[in-house]
Every structure is written in structure tokens, then in C-alpha cells.
Point group: C2
């Protein structure tokens, strides 16, 4: 068992989103991303099978999808996407999310 306190990772970076590894194993990789208002994880995709989830812990912004789609995202929202689908995140406020990539790539 591994116990992780995401609140201990609650730091922000003026230069861009702050990315912290939460857990990595054969089944999934979990990452914590913190954004200041206006920062983003640019839309991208990977040529790999698998599925990712994004859980918004704090703040609000948008999930980004193909064709410039934007989906409003706030604390308590989840996005599930194939890894090979275009996906991204843009923050409207300070925003913290936890991303699980399954299987890890």
C-alpha cells in the first residue's frame, strides 16, 4: 500500500504547469498537475492504446479536445479519454488535477 497526500504537492510554477509523479506501476501511472490561471497542458495525443482519466481536485478551467473543443471543468469533474484521442487542459483559476494513464505509456 502506498499513501500519498496530493495536498503536499500543492505548489505552482510561474513558468508553466507543475507536474509531479504520484505513482507508477505496471497497471497505471498517476500524475499530479498544478496550473496557475491561464496555464495549460497543450492538446496532444499519443499513438498508443489505453485510456486516461483526469479528476479535477481544485479550481476550474477547460478540458480540451479535438477540433478546438472546450469542455468546462471544475472541481469534481472527470474526463475520460482514449490516449490516442487529442486531449489537454487549460486553467481558468489555480487548478489541480490528478491524471491516471492506463496502461502507463
Amino acid at each position: 500500500m502506498q499513501h500519498i497526500r496530493l495536498n503536499d504537492m500543492r505548489q505552482f510554477n510561474d513558468l508553466g504547469m507543475k507536474r509531479t509523479l504520484v505513482h507508477d506501476c505496471a497497471d497505471f501511472r498517476m500524475l499530479n498537475f498544478n496550473f496557475k490561471a491561464g496555464q495549460e497542458l497543450p492538446i496532444h495525443s499519443h499513438d498508443a492504446d489505453g485510456t486516461l482519466s483526469i479528476v479535477v481536485l481544485e479550481g476550474s478551467g477547460w478540458f480540451l479536445g479535438a477540433d478546438n473543443a472546450t469542455i468546462e471543468a471544475q472541481a469534481g469533474d472527470v474526463l475520460v479519454s482514449a490516449i490516442r484521442e487529442p486531449h489537454g487542459i487549460r486553467a481558468a483559476t489555480e487548478m489541480r488535477v490528478v491524471v491516471s494513464i492506463c496502461p502507463p505509456i
Copy 2:
């Protein structure tokens, strides 16, 4: 892409924890569990490979482990456990968690 609002699942049940499916695919199953104070997911394990994560969205309580281990859990905490390790949850307050089971069993 699938967008889910966990806040829409914020209901509690006097008779026991309330369990709602968030997502199910070949890569993982995600479930939302809501507990009233004192309710629990009793400690259990499964004879299967894989790894699960529990992210506490709201409230506080304990993660339960083998040998009556209790680990304090509050919003923002994560537990990662092998599916075959004993694991459980007990709520001290109204408590909401999101569990990902990878691969789904």
C-alpha cells in the same frame, strides 16, 4: 471522450455506502463511493492481479489495511493498493472517494 460530474453523484444513503459507476472500459473501472459518517467499505481483497487507487474527494476517515491497519485519510489523499492486498475505507464524516480498478475485475 466522456465528461462526468462527480458532484451530480453527491447523494448519501442511510443504509450504507452509495456506489455509482463512473466509467468502465477494458483498461479500468472507476467507481464513486459516498459514505455517511461511520459507514464503511469493509476490508476485503480479490484473488486477481492489478492495482487500485482511491482518491478522497471530500471529507475524512481512514483507509483500512491488513492486520487492522488504519491510515488517516482526508480530501486530497490517495491510497494505491494491489487488488489482492486487503483494503477498505471507513468514514469519519460524510466522505466521497473515487476508486479506479486497473485492470477492471
